[in-house]
């Protein structure tokens, strides 16, 4: 458990960032592998950019709320 925590702290150290990026990657993997979602494939890169920005805003929002 300690090793997993050390790796988590070393790479990211923030649950919102980790969850946000994992959800984004899973969504993009689905878009790339499910034929029903193929119309979204040309927008994969832009969806990733949007996901990164939303994740950054979410983690900062939580910090701002936490300081209240």
């Amino acid at each position: 458990m300690k090793v997993i925590k050390a790796i988590y702290n070393f790479i990211v150290g923030d649950m919102i960032i980790l969850v946000g990026v994992v959800i984004a990657v899973l969504a993009l993997a689905l878009i790339n592998n499910v034929s029903a979602l193929s119309p979204l494939r040309p927008a994969t890169g832009f969806l990733l950019v949007a996901a990164v920005l939303v994740t950054l805003t979410a983690t900062l929002y939580r910090e701002a709320r936490g300081k209240r």
Binding site: I11, D14, L18, V21, N32, T44, G45, V52, L56, L60
Partner: protein, 272 residues
């Protein structure tokens, strides 16, 4: 030579080496320079071995497309972590990294252990110096490997060499600056460097992760999209800093207004 990679590795390394240098300096001043430098050089050698073996092995055995996807995701995680810290520091929600305070604190800890200046090697001094350089440098080694190995086309060594060169130059500069002033490097704009590196890591990470998903960036020269991504992240980060600053001031004003109204009510209750 990959200049963008070398620059990113240089900036990231400069931040981490400044932090490691503070501990090396404390050990040098309070215990002795032999122990301090031995620990630091041993850690630098360990990091070099990690970069050389792990970096080349990864590039040789993992297909570049899959590798870029994994590296892109890791760089996004790293980049967002650095960017978040830098934005919080710029907006005043997190205190700035204070090398002077860390220097004094570590010095007090060593003195409390009863360690004194002696000419011979002291295991505690060597271990403390080694640990600090290794821990700070590990993140840099990781950046050098992931960054360097993603840009190369065939062998991967070129990118790693560029990144390693950037890191080595940063290390030498920090050591030279430290040797000249012999004090904690408080003038280095650590937060600005962290902010720039955070933007670069996130931009490169997004670019490679999207390419890992076989996405084609809408420009004749796809690499030209990296500065566009960096500009976008910079703009949004600037907006987030402004929003957090406004939010903090708003909260302070509300708290102050509440305190004033409570005081006024208490005074009215006291009056007959």
């Amino acid at each position: 030579m990959q200049w963008a990679i070398a620059t990113a590795a240089f900036l990231a390394s400069a931040v981490e080496f400044v932090e490691a240098f503070t501990i090396v300096l404390v050990v040098g001043v309070t215990i002795n320079w032999r122990s301090s430098l031995l620990g630091a050089f041993a850690a630098a050698a360990t990091l070099a071995v990690i970069v050389a073996t792990l970096g080349v092995a990864l590039v040789k055995w993992v297909p570049i497309q899959d590798f870029r996807l994994v590296v892109g995701i890791i760089l996004i995680l790293f980049g967002l972590k650095w960017l978040k810290k830098a934005i919080l520091r710029y907006s005043g929600l997190k205190s700035l990294h204070d090398e002077e305070a860390i220097f004094e604190e570590t010095m007090a800890e060593i003195r409390a252990r009863g360690e004194t200046i002696a000419p011979r090697f002291q295991p505690f001094g060597v271990a403390l110096s080694y640990k600090s350089v290794l821990l700070e440098g590990l993140e840099v080694a990781f950046i050098v490997i992931t960054f360097g190995s993603s840009v190369t086309t065939s062998t991967g060594v070129n990118g790693i060499a560029s990144a390693a060169l950037g890191a080595a130059v940063a290390g030498l500069l920090v050591i030279a600056a430290g040797a000249i002033i012999r004090a904690p490097l408080t003038k280095v704009p650590e937060n600005t460097l962290k902010f720039v590196v955070g933007i670069m890591l996130t931009s490169f990470g997004t670019f490679w992760a999207a390419e890992g998903f076989s996405f084609e960036w809408p420009l004749p020269l796809p690499d030209a999209f990296i500065p566009i991504l960096a500009a976008l992240y910079l703009l949004v980060s600037y907006g987030l800093v402004s929003w957090l600053k406004w939010n903090k001031q708003h909260q302070l004003a509300t708290a102050s207004a509440n305190a004033t109204s409570v005081n006024a009510q208490e005074q009215e209750e006291v009056r007959p």
